[in-house]
Subunit: 344 residues, 2 copies
C-alpha cells in the first residue's frame, strides 16, 4: 500500500494542524506523505515530532511513516475556484493529486480550497467511466446513525441523470465505507410524493424507482437529520450544500446559545456543569470531526475534502477514512457501480 | 376593516385549535370569520366560548368579533396539491379565499394543506401585475433578529427573473411587516462570489446588483440563521424549502436530545431545571409560533399559511400578523414594489 498524500498547506491553520494530524495518523499506523513547502514543513515537522516524543505518544515508527513531497506554491482558501488548474502545477493541491495519479499515493486529503481541490481532481484524475459529474459525499451527523448526503456541493446544478449517478455512487460508498450491506437510498425533495420537486428531481425519482438500488423515495429537509429510513440521501449540489451549511449553522448557533446561558449566571454555570457529561455524547455525534473527510465520488482516484476549520483530530480522522477506503478497495467498487455495463 | 377569514378545518387539530386561536385573536380585538362546516363549528365555538368565560379571558366582545362562514367540504392535509381547485368550491380553503376576493375578508389564514392554499390563491386571487410566481415568505428564527426567507417553497423551481421578483416582494414585506426601514437583501447561494451558484442564481445576482434594492450579495446556508447582515434572503423555492425544513429538523432534534439528557438521570434533571429559565428566551426566539403566518407574496390578495402543527397561540399569531398587514396597507405596498412601472 502506498501512503496517503496530505495537503500540508491547506486549511485555516496550516501547516501546523495538518502536520499534527499526520502525526496522529502515523502513530495509528498510517503512512502519510505531507505535501507542501519543504522549507516551512521540515521545521514544523521536527518541532511536532519533538513535542510528540516529549508527550510519549510520538513513539515508534512515527517518523518512518511520514514523508515530505515538495510543493512551492499554495492556493489560498479564498482564491477563486475557477482558477486555471494547470497554471498552479506547483501548488500543494496539484502536487498531492498528481501523486495519486502517478500511483505514489493511494489517496489525497486536503482541508484547503474546496473548489480548487475539486477542479484539480477533475483535471488530473478525470472521471470514472459512466460518471458525468463527480459529487461530494458528506456523512451527516444524526441521532439514528450516520447517513451520506450526495452531492454536498461539488456541482452548482444537477440534471436528472446526474442525480441518478449520485445515487449509485452513494450506494457504493455506503456499502464499502459505512458498512451498510444494503443501503436505503432516498432523494431530497420538497414533498414525499413522486410528483413533488423540480423537474430534474421528478425525472430522477422515476429513474431511481426502476434502478437496481434500494430506493425508498423522497425525503425532505428535516429528514436529513431526523429520519432513520435512509442511509444515502441524494441531492443536487446546490440544495445539498445549502442544507449541509444550514444544519452546521444551526448546530453551531444552538451550542453557542447553550454555552452562553451556561456562562451567564451561577445558576447557569452549575446547570451547564451538571449537563455536560450527558451532552458530551450528543456533541460527539454531531461533531464534524468524527467524519473528517468528504470523498469526491466518481473521480478517477480517491480524493477527500476536509473541513477548512479542521483540527488535528479531524485531519487524523480524514486520513483514517482515506486509508480505510483504500484497504477496502473503494475505488474499484465505485467504478463497478457506475460503469456503463453495471449501472442502470 | 373587514374581518380576517380563518380556515377552521385546516391543520392537524382542526377545528379545535383554529377555534381556540380565533378566540385568542378576538380577545385581542381582531375580527375573525371562521370558515368551515357549520355543524361542526357551532358546537365547538359554543364550547370554547363557555370555557373562555369560565377562565375569565373570554370577556367582552369576543363573541361579537367572531362569525361563521359555512364550507361543507374539507381538503385533507395529505391530499394532492395539484388537485382541481375549482372542483372543491365547497372547501374551507376555497370559501375563505373567495371571501377575500369578494372583499368580505381582508386576508385569509390557513394551517391546512399548503399546496391547496397556494393553488387556490392563484386561481381565485390571481397574481399582482409584474409577478410571474408568487412566493412564500417565512420569518426565520435567528439570534440577531428576524429575517425573511423568500421563497420558502411555493415554487419547485425558479428562474432568475423569479428570484429578482422575490427580492422585491421580500423587500416590500420587510419594510411594511417587519418594520425594517431599508432592508438588506441577500441571495442564497453556495459561495459568496457573484459567480457562485446555479446559472439562475448567477444571473439573478447580476440583475439584483443593478436593481433599486439594498442588495448585499450572496449568503450561504449557515448565514440563514447566523448572519446579521441581511433582512431578506432570496432563494429558489426548492432550496429555500429544503433549508427551512433542515433548520426546523435540527432545532427539533437538539431540543429533543437536550430534554432526553435532562430526563435520564437525577443529575441531568437538576441541570435541566437550572438551565430552563436561561434557555426559555432561546427557545422562544426559535419558536415558529412567534411568527405564526407565512405570507404568500405576490398573490392578488393577502393569504397566510400557518404551520400544520400550529397550536392556538400560533393561530392567534398568524391572525395578528394578517391583521397588522391589513392595517399597514401591505397589499398596496407590495403591488407598488413589483408593478412593471415601479420595479426593476
Amino acid at each position: 500500500m502506498s501512503p496517503i498524500a496530505l495537503d500540508a498547506m491547506g486549511g485555516d491553520d496550516a501547516p501546523g494542524v495538518p502536520v499534527a494530524g499526520a502525526l496522529r495518523a502515523a502513530a495509528a499506523g498510517i503512512d502519510v506523505t505531507l505535501v507542501g513547502d519543504r522549507g516551512a514543513l521540515e521545521p514544523e515537522l521536527e518541532r511536532a515530532l519533538g513535542e510528540a516524543a516529549v508527550a510519549r505518544h510520538g513513539g515508534d515508527g512515527v517518523r518512518e511513516r511520514l514523508r515530505l513531497a515538495h510543493a512551492p506554491d499554495r492556493i489560498g482558501m479564498e482564491e477563486h475556484a475557477a482558477l486555471e488548474v494547470r497554471s498552479r502545477r506547483g501548488s500543494s493541491i496539484y502536487v498531492g493529486t498528481e501523486l495519486v495519479n502517478a500511483g505514489e499515493a493511494d489517496a489525497f486529503v486536503s482541508a484547503g480550497n474546496t473548489g480548487a481541490v475539486l477542479a484539480t481532481a477533475l483535471v488530473v484524475l478525470g472521471r470514472l467511466p459512466g460518471v458525468e459529474r463527480p459529487a461530494l459525499g458528506v456523512v451527516l451527523p444524526a441521532t439514528s446513525g450516520p447517513r451520506l448526503l450526495v452531492d454536498a456541493g461539488a456541482n452548482a446544478e444537477s440534471r436528472a441523470s446526474h442525480l441518478v449517478q449520485f445515487a449509485h455512487l452513494g450506494d457504493a460508498y455506503a456499502r464499502v465505507a459505512l458498512g451498510v450491506a444494503s443501503p436505503r437510498v432516498a432523494l431530497l425533495s420538497i414533498g414525499g410524493e413522486a410528483s413533488k420537486g423540480s423537474s430534474a428531481v421528478v425525472e430522477a425519482h422515476a429513474a431511481l424507482a426502476r434502478a437496481r438500488l434500494r430506493f425508498v423515495g423522497n425525503v425532505e429537509g428535516h429528514d436529513l437529520i431526523a429520519t432513520s429510513a435512509a442511509d444515502v440521501i441524494v441531492a443536487d449540489g446546490f440544495s445539498g450544500n445549502v442544507a449541509l451549511k444550514s444544519i452546521e449553522g444551526v448546530i453551531a448557533m444552538l451550542w453557542e446559545e447553550l454555552s452562553h446561558v451556561a456562562r451567564s449566571s451561577a445558576r447557569g454555570r452549575l446547570g451547564g456543569w451538571l449537563l455536560t457529561p450527558g451532552l458530551r455524547a450528543t456533541r460527539g455525534r454531531l461533531d464534524y470531526r468524527r467524519y473528517g473527510g468528504a470523498p469526491l465520488l466518481g473521480a478517477g482516484g480517491l480524493v477527500y475534502v476536509a473541513h477548512g476549520r479542521s483540527d488535528a483530530r479531524a485531519i487524523e480522522s480524514a486520513l483514517r477514512t482515506a486509508s480505510e477506503g483504500v484497504s477496502a478497495g473503494l475505488l474499484a467498487t465505485i467504478a463497478g457501480s457506475v460503469s456503463p455495463a453495471g449501472a442502470t
